[in-house]
Amino acid sequence: MQFAVLGGFVLAAFAPLLHRWFGERTGWVLALLPGALLLWLLGQLPTVVAGETLVFEQAWVPGLEITLTFLLDGLSLLFALLISGIGVLVLIYASGYLKGHPDLVRFHVVILAFMMSMLGLVLADNLVSLFVFWELTSITSYLLIGFNHTDLEARKSALQGLFVTVGGGLALLAGLILLALAGDSWSLQELTGRGELLRGHDLYLPILLCLLAGAFTKSAQFPFHFWLPNAMAAPTPVSAYLHSATMVKAGVYLLARLSPALGGTPAWEAWLCLIGALTMLTGAFLALRHTNIKKLLAYSTVMALGTLTLLLGIGSEQAMVAFATFLLAHSLYKGALFMVAGILDHETGTKDIALMGGLRRVMPVTALCAAVAALSLGGVIPLFGFVAKELLFAAAWEGGWRDLLLPATLIAAILTLAAAAIVGIRPFFGERRELPRDPHEGPGTMLLGPVLLAGLSLLLGLWPGAAEGLVAATASSVGGAPVAASLYLWHGINGPLLLSLVSLALGLLLFRHWARWRAALRPLEPLIQRGPEALYFRLMDALVEVAEWQTRLLQNGYMRNYLVMMLLVLVGLTGVTLFARHELHLAVALDVQLHEALVVGLMVAGAVMACVLRARLAAVASVGVMGFCIALTFVLFSAPDLGITQLLVETLTVILLILVLFRLPRFARLSSPLERVRDLVVAAATGGLMTLLILQVVSIDPFSSISDYMVANSQPLGHGHNIVNVILVDFRALDTLGEMFVLALAAIGVFAMLRFHAGEYETRDRQARGEVVDD
């Protein structure tokens, strides 16, 4: 199992090579992998339906308890089937939709990588590997939304989707870590068994809120719903796959997966029901504002995601069954509808439904698929969507908060039915209109997906018993205990059926007056404009402003400001640590001989004079005096090698400076007295700190030095009598090699700067161009 998923990533890397061999047919070749996975998963169906959970152990980082163990129970099997099944269809569909696109290779690489990340996400048992796959889906989604990277809108939307989902991902990471701490395990399998412990834990609320932030951003719940419709900038196969059938359901998946561990508390119920219902209504309501078919479908996806969250919030057995059924039904009809939308866009050259009409004669198959899928979306008998809607009504009817949830569900159903009618009827009936392109029936590759998905919607509608096993298994893993499910198309005349009829009638009425409804909504436009998306943009602008402000403040281009800032931080942090953490042991025993004091005094005087003198030559000379005094100090205190080196280098330095100095400007007095005082204070503070540090360092001996080893082994191991030399060329020979490199680089730099002049290049260039150069 792990082999197949990880192998998929490898296959994605080899997709460019496959393109060289198979050209346009690469999509079919790549579809073999999800196809094989689909068949294998179908083979596991009986075992899982029987109530077993398949575990595929695989260690990853044993020291950190991170595993790549995969878990196959009802919930993950349902998701895995959808991912691999729709994945096959999307790959084939894309080979028609993106036919001849120059970036088809890139598409194949990313979508295959996404497919595998998504499979990893729903199969992972370990929290860390789940998070890794979660983030991988965010990244691949970003790359796919921004697929048309020359389009500014696409890039903006991609970035928005990334920021929202990855921002939520951060919260999710915190939540997962807290969850692991509270439950004392990184394994989902173990955590779901520790519900009592987790729900009673002090960290329960923080865990819940962090996880909800992650799940809600990913699944486009209110108020993060805005990124999903914008993600429609992606090519339609991507919208069909990522942004309706699979990725956006990852958040819902996570909530469902953790529902046995965290669900059932008042907080869980309140948050999920409230946000779910709000998202459901927002999505259904905003869908009807749009005439762009993809946006309309995207908002209806938002509505569906809200419904799923709501069902998880209700949490009854009935709701679990409704959850599983609705999830399956939605993926089938929404996948089909998006593919239909892609065909319409591809064949007519526009995404605007208001411009389409009467297409059923030229595109009969597409029209049929659209009608079947739209009927399922609207929840009309005898489609699978109807079964799901009945269960939804039943769950809302029986669950808590009925007075609030039932009307909300009904309103959403009415609006959804209108949306379904708009998508399923509007483009295909009525009179033909002028279109940017002369429409034809879509190619076979693009029809395969909608036909199969719409066919499944119909088949499962007529024979819902076929899905019973899978639905029951899914509901059991969400509920944490075995749940029996019996799906019927006809439940007899009861409450949910009446609600269905009401929604059907009102929905059709709304469809007839769609244009008027849109006009009536126009006054609300300013409110919608000021929605959460405006907040997102304000946040982004603020981010840029803060960045600019702090760059202006910190990176202002004045060298001395950088220096002052660094020094003050150094003095501040080191000083605080020195005084607050350590007792000052100041060794003040003065054991100084006269000649030593004279040498040191001369050295200090040389340094001070270098600052005070106004003539360049005199300043250099007094630096030289200081340098020679340092050399003397080295000699006086048992460091003859240092003395010799310092003497040589100091001589060279003075010569170099005197040679170069005449080409440099004279000292200029540029700063005001106030600035000089400020600099003096900074300099004195740093100098004082250094003095204190040395006094502290020489009076304490925190750990034994490694020098003893070098002193003892210099002759026996290094065969040298001068220990300093042995250290340099033997014990620390690599350091010396590095030093030689530095010197060589400096020498090359000096040579290059002295040898080449910018002016020479210009002259040479102009000569090469044949211009007359006058010196």
Binding site: F637, S638, V649, Q715, L743, A747
Partner: protein, 115 residues
């Protein structure tokens, strides 16, 4: 000896930083020289200073007789002196070229990347 040396090093650091904070680029070079010398002395002095006991092994012996000065900081300082010279010569030449091109000896006039 160390307290006196600590004081001297503190003064050296202060002069170095004062010079590096000046706007004149030539003063910056002098500040750089002072700073590298101060840093060398810092390393040298923090290991403790010992008179007349250079870290040498007498002929025929396998280890020094009695206590000697710590050889490790000496080796570090030796490397540092040489590298400081490399850096200084590079800086001096760089500043000379910059002055040739920009014709400004004021660091404040060099704060933008385009001259």
């Amino acid at each position: 000896m160390e307290p006196l040396m600590a004081l001297a090093i503190g003064i050296l650091y202060a002069t170095a930083i004062y010079m590096m904070l000046r706007r004149s680029i030539v003063k910056l070079v002098i500040g750089l020289m002072l700073l590298s010398n101060a840093a060398n002395l810092l390393i040298f002095a923090s290991a403790g200073m010992r008179r007349g006991a250079p870290p040498l092994v007498p002929e025929g012996a396998t280890a020094p007789l009695g206590l000697v000065a710590d050889p490790l900081p000496q080796a570090l300082v030796l490397t540092a002196i040489v590298i400081a010279f490399g850096v200084l010569s590079f800086a001096v030449v760089l500043i000379r070229r910059a002055y040739e091109i920009v014709k400004a000896d004021d660091l404040d006039q060099m704060k933008d990347t385009d001259t």
